[in-house]
């Protein structure tokens, strides 16, 4: 369960605090999939990063599975994110010097124990249709293929929360369609809480729950 209560975020500037998010509350359970749309600079990514414990809120609380990540030490927080949260970004951010399989396995290197992730990685790559490409380097993949690898990487640890920031933003229509379908399919299989920030109305339309972030407030569309 993801509980967000009265979340506020302000950035300090020399001319006073700049409000980005104001009084946002949200409650999501396993299997929920939501999209968040909003104009540029509305704070969508900021909200995503707070939910992913990448940035702390100015005020309010976020709990995931009953735990407040911002109350943890840095090490505990890193372990928390490693176990509970998967990320997919607009730019896939794959490691160019590692193979496809190794990129998927990257989060497992800092896991507390070796949980036989190699097999899971192969399975995920198979599910995203890249089982033939496990030894290839990112430079040998198309944009859509890279994003599929990022998707597999995000799910390797079976996270509770899957956060996507413009996952299809850099892809053409066809590739975006493939990635979007895979994203939703895998979310369904893994029963994650899926939150997608997007500009794409088409992608947003595929989600049962849609939000808009306007004037620092989150409203259900």
């Amino acid at each position: 369960m993801l509980e967000v209560t009265d979340l506020t975020k302000e950035y300090p500037t020399p001319r006073g605090p700049l409000p980005i998010l104001s009084g946002i509350s949200l409650s999501l359970s396993r299997g929920d999939a939501v999209s968040i749309m909003g104009p540029s600079g509305s704070g969508k990514s900021t909200l995503l990063y707070i939910l992913g414990a990448l940035e702390p809120p100015t005020s309010g609380t976020v709990t995931l599975d009953g735990r407040d990540p911002f109350g943890l030490t840095e090490r505990e927080l890193a372990a928390f994110r490693n176990k509970q949260i998967g990320f997919i970004f607009q730019d896939h951010s794959l490691l160019p010097q590692c193979s496809v399989l190794e990129n998927v396995l990257t989060p497992t290197l800092v896991a507390e124990a070796d949980g036989g992730y190699a097999e899971r990685a192969r399975s995920l790559l198979d599910q995203v249709g890249l089982s033939e490409r496990i030894d290839h380097r990112p430079a040998e993949l198309s944009g859509g293929e890279k994003q599929r690898v990022a998707l597999a990487r995000a799910l390797i640890r079976q996270p509770l929360l899957l956060l996507c920031d413009e996952p299809t933003g850099n892809l053409d229509r066809k590739a975006a369609e493939v990635v979007a379908s895979l994203l939703l399919e895998l979310h369904r299989r893994q029963e994650t809480i899926l939150i997608v920030v997007t500009h794409s109305a088409e992608l947003a339309a595929r989600f049962p729950t849609r939000f808009e972030l306007i004037e620092q407030q989150l409203r259900q569309a």
Binding site: E74, A78, F87, L95, L109, E112
Partner: protein, 1141 residues
């Protein structure tokens, strides 16, 4: 807003990277300028030291013998003297051994100065007259300390006894060559009061004593005489002065000053020209005859000699003078080998004309033996004891002989059997003194008794018309101008000019320290370039925006160039302060840790604006070059790629751009594209294999002696280094890898190692830099020389000799003969130590040390002349020579006996001295007394390999005697003795020959002293190179910092997926450690291979301690730097890199 405003804002805003650039430039400038300051400081220190010790001396007149003290005044009162010179001061300068009577502590190589109040006045110290009086003696500070003397202590000074009579002639006093004088110490004379007065430049401590001139003259029986005149300059500019002094000298000298005596013999109505040395050489004889001919006077030449016996018909007369006469006096000499006896001799022998007469006489043979020879004659006539036959003035004056009252009182320098003297012999002496008893033809006499010193004992000049007195005066006037005082023993040289020229140094320390500091400068410039590049790349988006809004690329380049120039100038200003610190530190090092390289602690920092300016200019130019090189790569990038801030990745034409499929192929930097090309790994592998094979081939060639061992292993090490770098390059670019999986610190570390393949070219560059620097620093150890043990190999640097010795006073005796040893008190029964010991003798002409031990440039090198025994032995090894014939190639020593090419005498030098001190090569000439009218040209024909002759030039004995006839006897010895006996033999020789100032040293000690200098240079290079390497590891950390910043998005993702700071640190440090380890291990392994022959030849000893510490410091610094860089890089938030907007 103007461009300058933008520049100022950039300067302040990006202060961190700008500061790093400034520090990089500052380091480079500090080191460059500092190194140049070292050179200036050494030169200036040497110069200051020399001038302090020289006082007001500019020119020096000196002689092997003595001349009138008055000559100094005669020079000073010459009309032309005051136009160029200030004053002239006579003194006596001698070499001595000084002994502290109470403690018996000894100092050798001491300069004795016999001075009076004129000396202090000459040096402008009239008010501080330090003149010693009576038996007082002043010491230089270091000598006083060495002897431990206090006021009032008795000091014994032993000097060579002056004698005009050639030592290596019959009448030379060979066993009595020295004189010990006793003085009382009056204390040490500080250096500021000329206590370290020295005419020749030397960086070491000065050993000198000052004694009263009058006392010294009396003790040496040279009243009113001196052997040196100091001349001060009137103003600056010494160039033409020696020639002027020579001209003045030619006007001022008298016959007495050059040892020529002109007697008026009233009884014989003639003048007699003789010399103090009792022989008239050919040049003087020629001048004498010419001068006489010019006056219309007649001359006759005579050679008078002592016969041990005149024998005829079973009778003999002992110890008689015989005179060889020329044709003017040969009336009674007819027939073959005629001899004329005076009536006394004929009567005593009972001889009549036609009888056979034989003469027995001593002959001194050059190698050092007195032989008795016999010559046969036929009595042609008997002369009455009157007229020319009763001339007692035909014999020159021989101290101890001609002045004696009786034959029994004779004190000759050769054996004499007084038992042979009969009463009638004493009667003859009493009545006729030195009247010759026999006469032979001059030609015969010269054949029997002529020597290299001369073939006459007198020339008589008879007036054609006029009286004798007027002839005397006119002949003196006529003869003097025909004589060249410089050829007759007086020498003139410009002490100040020569010393100042020498002060420029044999070694350019500035150049050496620039080389030593090369790695520091290179690393500093690398850092400068890296940080500047880092700064530029951090501002790619800014550059993209400027391009997007219309700034042309050239304008942007100019902006950054101006910024870079400003940074470079700022850095150089800071660097100049650093230069003073670096220079000061290096000078401190030369006075302390590296004092073996310079042999003095008197070097201080001197600040030269020119060096600072050159260093600053060099640093700025180098930094600007780095900056220009960086900016050169900026131009091809498109604004769009710049705006994205990630313009290094090659994008594919698959619509991934989202902009209608436009393919963007920004050109990349100097590093390789990320996608490994199928061709590149193959070519790197091929190169690796090729270099490996070449290296193995070289090893094989070395093992089979096709190639020299050192060259073979060194070459193999270098090729292997290149091969390993190629292998690593190929590996980094390859794609086959073991999968990184698992969890914990090891997989994370492996990820760090894998990150090195992110930019293979950059990684290889880092490894190559570290490996190369390590290789050089370790491999130079191959050149370290170790001469701990005595080497008996006759082809080694010691020639197989265990000991070498130098004596202050010349030895004429042959120490290899029983007679020679006995005459020197070395033949006592208990001296079994000397059994089987052989001596190889050398003649020696003192001069400047031409080895690396002397910081001053040698202008007048010490010269040794070996005898034929050494030349024929073929000992020592030659590095190179001008040998042409098979005999010369087998034994290049023979080149010394060759003809002088174009008037230059052939010499051999040590290869190190020839190259690094004299800066000459084979075939070049070295000219002594270049500025005088009598230069001596020497041509280098052979180069010895790492020999103990590094301080000297070697000349054949024949050429030595021709060029330096005043240098008599032998003063340098190489001694063959088994090493186990060496200490005992050394002690015996030093004790028995202490009167000659015999100083013995093991040959390996001499070699070790040279090697210490070289080894210190190597250590300096290794230390500074190591510092450079340490600085280079900071560059490595900077590269990693760049990598981190370039991969911020990836690292942000890793943070997002749960990597914490410690994981990042581990990754980056692992990557750095991997690069460091590759570099260090590659460089060290190849270097060890390169120095393997030297390693084993030294018995497996390596300075592992110092090298190990150095490399450990490099590792620790590198890792620490990467840690700091990582922490700094990760301090700023990574997450913004993830943002889509």
């Amino acid at each position: 807003m103007r461009t300058t405003t933008l520049l100022k804002r950039n300067f302040i805003y990006y202060w961190r990277t700008n500061l790093a650039v400034i520090l990089g430039v500052a380091t480079a400038v500090a080191v460059l300028a500092g190194a140049l300051l070292v050179g200036d400081s050494v030169r200036a220190s040497l110069r200051d030291l020399f001038l302090l010790r020289l006082g007001n001396t500019s020119q020096v007149v000196s002689a092997a013998g003595f001349f009138r003290e008055q000559l100094a005044d005669d020079l000073q009162t010459h009309p032309q003297f005051a136009t160029a010179f200030g004053a002239a001061c006579p003194l006596i300068v001698l070499n001595a051994i000084v002994t502290h009577d109470e403690s018996r502590r000894r100092g050798s190589g001491v300069q004795v100065y016999g001075v009076d109040e004129r000396f202090w006045k000459f040096h402008g110290r009239e008010g501080a007259d330090q003149t010693p009086h009576n038996r007082e003696l002043l010491l230089s500070p270091s000598l006083a300390q060495e002897l431990g003397s206090k006021d009032g202590d008795a000091i014994l000074v032993r000097v060579e006894k002056p004698s005009a009579i050639p030592l290596e002639s019959l009448h030379g006093r060979k066993e009595d060559v020295g004189r010990t004088l006793r003085f009382s110490a009056r204390g040490a004379l500080p250096a500021s009061a000329l206590g370290e007065f020295s005419i020749r430049p030397q960086q070491g401590a000065v050993r000198a004593v000052f004694v009263p001139l009058r006392r010294l003259q009396r003790d040496l029986e040279q009243e009113g005489k001196a052997n040196t005149i100091l001349i001060s300059e009137k103003g600056p500019g010494d160039a033409a002065k020696p020639e002027l002094v020579e001209r003045l000298l030619k006007d001022a000298f008298t016959l007495e000053d050059v040892g020529v005596k002109l007697r008026v013999l009233e009884a014989h109505h003639c003048l007699s020209l003789e010399t103090e040395g009792a022989v008239v050489n050919d040049a003087l004889a020629e001048s004498a005859r010419r001068a006489a001919a010019g006056l219309g006077a007649q001359t006759s030449s005579f050679l008078t000699y002592l016969a041990n016996s005149i024998r005829a018909g079973g009778h003999e007369i002992p110890y008689s003078l015989v005179t060889a006469v020329d044709d003017n006096y040969s009336e009674g000499l007819s027939g073959e080998d005629p001899i004329m006896l005076n009536e006394w001799a004929a009567r005593d022998l009972g001889a009549k004309p036609g009888d056979a007469v034989s003469l027995d006489y001593y002959l001194w043979q050059e190698p050092g033996r007195l032989l008795t020879q016999t010559a046969q004659f036929r009595l042609s006539s008997i002369a009455g004891l009157s007229g020319a036959a009763a001339d007692r003035d035909l014999a020159p004056e021989y101290p101890g002989i001609t002045g004696s009252e009786s034959l029994a009182d004779w004190d000759p320098p050769f054996p004499m059997d007084l038992g042979r003297i009969r009463p009638r012999d004493e009667e003859y002496w009493h009545q006729y003194r030195t009247t010759p008893k026999a006469f032979i033809r001059l030609a015969k006499g010269q054949e029997l008794w002529g020597s290299r010193f001369g073939k006459l004992t007198s020339i008589r000049i008879f007036p054609g018309s006029g009286d004798l007195r007027s002839l005397h005066e006119s002949y003196r006037q006529s003869l003097r101008p025909t004589l060249d005082p410089v050829r007759m023993g007086l020498s003139v040289y410009s002490a100040k000019a020569q010393g100042l020229a020498a002060s420029r140094g044999a070694t350019d320390f500035g150049e050496y320290f620039v080389y030593f500091s090369f790695f520091i400068v290179a690393s500093a410039l690398l850092l400068t370039g890296l940080f500047f590049k880092l700064g530029v790349e951090q501002r790619l988006r800014e550059i993209g925006i400027l391009r997007a809004i219309g700034f042309p690329a050239a304008k942007i380049r100019s902006l950054f160039l101006n910024e870079g120039a400003a940074l470079a100038i700022a850095g150089s200003i800071v660097g100049l302060l650093g230069a003073l610190a670096y220079g000061g530190l290096m000078m401190l090092g030369l006075r302390t840790w590296w004092v073996d390289a310079v042999g003095t602690t008197l070097l201080t920092l001197h600040i030269s604006p020119l060096s600072l300016a050159l260093g600053a200019a060099g640093g700025i130019l180098a930094a600007l070059a780095c900056i220009v090189w960086t900016l050169r790569r900026l131009a091809p990038a498109s604004p769009r790629s710049l705006l994205s801030g990630d313009w290094n990745v090659q994008r594919r034409g698959d619509g991934a751009t989202g902009r209608g499929g436009e393919e963007e192929t920004p050109r990349v930097f100097l590093y390789l594209p990320v996608a490994p090309s199928p061709r590149r790994p193959v070519s790197a592998s091929h190169a690796a294999v090729a270099f490996s094979l070449l290296g193995l081939l070289l090893l094989l060639g070395s093992a089979l002696h096709w190639v020299g061992q050192v060259a073979g292993f060194f070459g193999a090490g270098t090729l292997l280094l290149v091969a390993l770098l190629c292998y690593q390059s190929a590996w980094l670019q390859g794609s086959k890898r073991k999968i990184i999986q698992g969890s914990g610190w090891w997989p994370v570390s492996r990820l760090g190692f894998r990150n090195a393949t992110y930019r293979p070219g950059r990684s290889v560059l880092c490894i190559a830099l570290i490996a190369s620097a390590t290789f050089i620093i370790v491999a130079v150890d191959a050149f370290r020389r170790d001469s701990q043990d005595v080497v008996l190999d006759k082809k080694s640097g010691s020639g197989g000799f265990s000991l070498l010795a130098e004596s202050l006073l010349p030895l004429t005796q042959d120490l290899n003969t029983a007679e020679g040893r006995e005459s020197l008190n070395l033949g006592l029964p208990d001296d079994a130590a000397l059994a089987g010991v052989t001596f190889t003798r050398f003649r020696l002409r003192p001069g400047d040390d031409a080895s690396c031990l002397n910081l001053y440039q040698p202008r007048n090198p010490k010269i040794l002349a070996p005898g034929d025994d050494l030349i024929k032995s073929g000992r020592f090894a030659f590095q190179d020579s001008l040998a042409r014939t098979p005999e010369e190639q087998a034994n290049p020593w023979l080149l010394l006996q060759g003809e002088a090419a174009g008037g230059a005498a052939p010499v051999i030098a040590d290869a190190n001295s020839m190259t690094y001190v004299l800066h000459l090569k084979l075939g070049d000439e070295f000219v002594i007394n270049q500025s005088s009218d009598h230069p001596i040209r020497l041509r280098l024909v052979g180069a010895l390999k790492d020999s103990l002759f590094q301080g000297e030039l070697l000349l054949s004995e024949k050429n030595f005697l021709r060029l330096f006839p005043d240098q008599e006897g032998y003063r340098f010895f190489l001694i063959d003795v088994p090493p186990e006996k060496a200490a005992r033999v050394s002690a015996v020789l030093e004790e028995r020959l202490s009167d000659f100032g015999f100083d013995v040293m093991p040959t390996n000690e001499r070699l070790a002293s040279f090697h210490r200098v070289e080894n210190t240079y190597l250590s300096t290079f290794q230390t500074l190179g190591g510092l450079g390497l340490v600085l280079g590891t900071l560059g490595l950390a900077t590269v990693l910092l760049r990598n981190v910043l370039e991969r911020r998005r990836e690292l942000a993702l890793l943070r997002a997926v749960g990597y914490d700071s410690s994981d990042f640190v581990l990754m980056v440090v692992a990557e750095n450690a991997w690069l460091l380890a590759c570099g260090l291990l590659t460089g060290t392994a190849c270097a060890l291979l390169a120095i393997a022959p030297a390693f084993f030849s030294r018995g497996g000893h390596l300075p592992t301690g110092s090298l190990g510490v150095l490399l450990l410091i490099v590792v620790v610094t590198g890792l620490a730097a990467s840690l700091v860089a990582t922490v700094a890089a990760l301090r700023s938030p990574l997450l913004p890199a993830l943002r889509a907007e």
